[in-house]
């Protein structure tokens, strides 16, 4: 056990799964010798020279190729260099990956992981700060996972790789090197579909994932908040959410993505449907603006700030 960051934890998970299962292969842009632009795959091509492949610059082709690999019997992990370039893969994901099992009534399947850095926080050029997780949550047949710490990144990625169905694995860029924590060398898997109650509380439930979880944790001082890290957005853990809402009666949902049709909408609608009588206040979403994600100079204005989160907490408490 060592204190490592998320980059190292993901690297560890990939290496261990490749060790364990020779069908696990990696493809993507610059994942070989360069070790990926965030060094996630650093050192792996030296260990597994025949199972890591640099590809041409062709995101749809990368995912399409991974689909063919998966159908044939491999377990490909494809890297898309930034989430802003995954839009080219929507057709492959939605028209093929998500449907191959259903289309062939189970004869073929698509056990594949598409990993990509996700979200704001590093003040990069345009389209390097995307958080469109909701798009992928609207695709039956696809699972969507967002880690929030080195520890759960490792355990969730292991489950994603072993999952029999396609998983979109969104890695919060801002967290890659922000946090270090103890991560066991030993094998462990965190099941997909379960949320994590990060902190118990009685007055208000705060739902978040990825890097916003940390902003939430910085914002709750003075509130008796129950903080839930969803970890898996599709499918999401209905039970854990409901149990908490029934206890607290108040909900704040925090996400980076623009509000309209963001994943917070789904959570809010679900809670309204299933737990309305327990609510002491409207479910409040704190979300990104109704606008294109800005570049560096205005980046800080886009996503929920501590102030906006606190304002929402006060709003539901005072309702």
């Amino acid at each position: 056990m060592a204190r490592i960051n998320m980059v190292q934890a993901i690297n560890l998970a990939l290496g261990q799964e490749m060790e364990r299962d020779k069908d696990v292969v990696l493809i993507g842009e610059d994942v070989g010798k360069d070790g990926g632009v965030f060094r996630i795959t650093e050192g792996l091509v030296e260990k597994f020279p025949d199972r890591i492949f640099d590809t041409p610059l062709a995101e749809s082709g990368i995912v399409g190729t991974a689909i063919g690999m998966a159908a044939y019997g491999l377990k490909p992990v494809a890297e898309i260099q930034f989430m802003g370039f995954i839009y080219a893969c929507v057709e492959q994901l939605l028209s093929h990956a998500s449907r191959i099992r259903s289309r062939s009534r189970g004869r073929y399947s698509c056990p594949m992981v598409v990993r990509t850095p996700y979200g704001i926080g590093i003040k990069p050029p345009e389209l390097h700060s995307e958080s469109t997780e909701a798009l992928f949550c609207h695709m039956p047949g696809i699972k969507v996972v967002v880690p929030s710490s080195p520890y759960n990144a490792k355990g969730l990625l292991v489950s994603a790789i072993r999952d029999p169905d396609p998983v979109v694995f969104l890695e919060p860029t801002r967290l890659y090197r922000l946090i270090k924590e103890e991560v066991p060398e030993a094998e462990y898997a965190i099941p997909l579909g379960k949320a994590n109650v990060v902190q118990e509380g009685t007055d208000v439930t705060v739902l978040a994932w990825g890097s916003m979880l940390h902003r939430v944790l910085e914002s709750i001082e003075g509130f008796d908040a129950e903080v839930i890290d969803l970890m898996c957005l599709s499918p999401y853990d209905e039970e854990t959410i409901l149990n908490s809402v029934k206890k607290t009666g108040r909900v704040v949902i925090v996400h980076e993505a623009t509000r309209r049709c963001g994943f917070g909408a789904e959570l809010s609608a679900f809670i309204a449907e299933e737990a309305m009588l327990h609510l002491k206040s409207p479910v409040v979403r704190v979300a990104g603006l109704d606008a294109v994600i800005p570049m560096a100079r205005l980046e800080d204005y886009y996503a929920p700030s501590k102030e906006r989160i606190i304002k929402a907490l006060n709003k539901v408490m005072e309702y």
Partner: protein, 352 residues
């Protein structure tokens, strides 16, 4: 060196069997009389399937259907060159390929009624389900070939698509990846001159589809797609090359869509009747028959017999399909993921 030529290409067209049934014996592929009969019977069977499908559609018993009329040699000639272990990634107009590989015909009818069960490929075949979004399945063949190479299998993947499919971005990305990694994959374009109402020359300004291979660093060849020998030979050679580590090949089968695009289409809106007429002389079935006749292995009674058997077989398959009945509505949900989610368990109760 002001202006220097640094690369050259020549695009070839291959024909072995002409419209009169004469074959170029120098390059005739090695096919026994038995093979020839098998090919002939597959041509008849596929055509019989096709005609019955159109009839069933007219009777309202089948959904929208895409006829293969005219393209049988491209489909059967290429599929006949495959080994059982090879993987096939069809588009949507490859019923002749499925039939050649021994796919249950009743399941093909089942599929075209709008029933997913028809695409549950039997375990002993490696053919993928129909891919509706044109051109987008090309990378899947590339991925399967990549997997075969990684696993050290002596297996090739083969992808079918149309002239229209060659315009899609995924065609480009897939072929390029295949070229870079020298993968064991064969790309077969059935250039049937039309993509719904778009004639071939408006699909792309290149003279051939075959030449597009040179963009990806491997060979392309155009073959007479109504010449079953040329198609067979080109495919067989390409598969052997692929398995020997020689990388991909693009084969353009120059053929013609004799029918409407699908049963939902009316080609008379955009296509002069005369064009279709001139292609009737190039019929792939006629050509093989003339050749076999010259070889003394075709008689009218033989053909009659083959046709009778095909008719009976197809009819019995239609019955089989009918006997299979309707699917279970819960199946809509059952195959989304390997295991049902909590939410899906609730939904299944709602629709049951």
């Amino acid at each position: 060196m002001p202006e220097n030529i640094i690369e050259k290409f020549e695009i070839k067209h291959l024909q072995i069997l002409d419209e009169k049934g004469n074959a170029d014996t120098a390059i005739l592929p090695n096919l026994s009389d038995n093979d020839l009969k098998k090919l002939f019977e597959l041509l008849i069977l596929s055509r019989q399937f096709d005609q019955r499908a159109l009839q069933l559609h007219a009777e309202g018993r089948l959904g929208t259907y895409a006829s293969i009329l005219g393209q049988e040699a491209s489909q059967i000639g290429s599929a006949y060159a495959l080994e059982k272990t090879d993987w096939v990634f069809p588009s949507f107009r490859e019923m002749g390929v499925y039939i050649t590989l021994g796919y249950p015909i009743w399941m093909l009818f089942q599929y075209w009624t709008g029933d997913e069960r028809g695409m549950k490929t039997p375990d002993d075949l490696n053919i993928f389900p129909v891919s509706v979004p044109v051109g987008t399945h090309t990378p899947h063949a590339v991925g399967a070939a990549f997997a075969a190479k990684i696993k050290g299998h002596k297996t090739a993947a083969l992808s079918y698509f149309g002239d229209g499919g060659s315009s899609k971005g995924d065609f480009h990305e897939g072929l390029n990846i295949a070229g870079v990694h020298k993968l064991p994959v064969v790309f077969i374009c059935q250039n049937n001159q039309w993509a719904i109402s778009l004639p071939r020359e408006k699909q792309t300004a290149s003279k051939t589809i075959a030449q597009k291979a040179y963009s990806y660093g491997f060979e392309g060849i155009q073959v007479d797609g109504n010449d079953i020998f040329a198609v067979y030979k080109a495919t067989k050679d390409a598969l052997e090359k692929a398995k020997a580590g020689g990388g991909p090949t693009l084969i353009e089968c120059f053929t013609y869509r004799m029918s409407d695009h699908t049963t939902a289409d009316d080609a008379s809106r955009y296509r002069p009747k005369e064009d279709v007429e001139t292609w009737k002389d190039k019929d792939p079935l006629l050509r093989l028959k003339l050749y076999m006749q010259k070889k003394g292995i075709w008689t009218q009674s033989y053909e009659d017999d083959v046709k009778k058997k095909a008719t009976e077989f197809v009819d019995s398959e239609i019955k089989k399909e009918e006997a299979a009945g309707l699917p279970d509505s819960k199946d809509i949900i059952n195959y989304t993921y390997k295991d049902l989610t909590q939410r899906q368990k609730k939904e299944i109760k709602e629709i049951a």
